[in-house]
Symmetry: C2
Subunit: 157 residues, 2 copies
DNA sequence: GACTTATGGTCAAGTAGCTTGACTACCTCT
DNA sequence: AGAGGTAGTCAAGCTACTTGACCATAAGTC
């Protein structure tokens, strides 16, 4: 097992370089998506909002669901929802099955913003395909999904 | 419902999935490295410090260099250096060629911590090799370096 | 050499996004 | 019914960052 955890590890400096490259790629992509969203006319949104949208997209979610998805406390998630309500991107509805809970759903503006984010993401990733080729991007994405299946979305430092 | 009826935003959701996977991988790796560093007995350090160490490692650097490298203001970088000085990991020396500047260099403890971080990083990446194989990791790293050559290290949201 | 502008660094104050703690309303299990 | 767990919010506090002001030195111009 563990073919080379200790005996033939990847060079240390390689490991650090990989980490830096991962952060750079993730950060750069996030930034470009954000810029694309802003360029499409949605202001006052942060990248974190986009990841919230992704969780809310299909059928809405509760504040607690959001908190788990984003890796923050439910208080923080609730504040984020407050902010999005204020900007008109989401609204709180009574939960159909639990009177304690409230279902947070996207408004029409929220759906539009979500679509803008998806377009911007596709555009940014598309520019990667110019460098790596379609297959290269697929290999990259596949590898990442295998090493970080359900990892924390939120940057941890 | 006909799940093929959407007008082909499949590419879009792929792009979002890739972004999420990148963030998850970067965040997870960073977190594991940090845990490894703490496990080796270095407390009171944050992941950001590790990236500062990486910049300081060869011959030291100025506060402004650090700020650029980390993607923060020089005030923030200066505060980070204050913190590291307080913990004994770095020290400020007069700059040999510029009386305005000060050269921030690693202390012995700082070098030990840097090495611990490299070990932890190699260990974390090694566990990826168990999943992807050594070649898989190499392909991943290579691809990332090509799409994000000098991207921002700091998570931008 | 004197003058002007740019650069390295710090001090001080303010801020955004998060945390912990305390609380209410409601659900669930026995 | 009662006990304990869960969803959500309010309030206060913290931390890592920011902007703005400032000084000392360097570099360019005359």
């Amino acid at each position: 097992m563990c073919q080379g955890c200790f005996n033939a590890p990847v060079q240390n400096s390689d490991a650090m370089a990989l980490t830096a490259a991962l952060l750079a790629a993730a950060g750069g992509l996030t930034q470009r998506i954000h810029e694309g969203v802003v360029a499409r006319g949605f202001e006052g949104v942060r990248p974190a909002h986009g990841f919230a949208f992704a969780r809310l997209a299909p059928d809405g979610a509760t504040v607690t669901d959001l908190a788990v998805h984003l890796g923050v406390t439910k208080q923080a998630a609730s504040q984020l929802v407050d902010e999005l309500v204020g900007k008109g991107y989401v609204e709180r509805r009574p939960h159909p099955a639990d009177a304690r809970a409230r279902l947070v759903v996207l408004t029409e503006a929220g759906r539009a913003c979500t679509q803008a984010a998806e377009e911007a993401a596709a555009e940014a990733v598309g520019s990667w395909a110019d460098v790596l080729g379609e297959d290269g991007v697929r290999v990259l994405a596949d590898g990442l999904l295998r090493v970080a299946p359900g990892g924390p979305i939120r940057p941890a430092w």
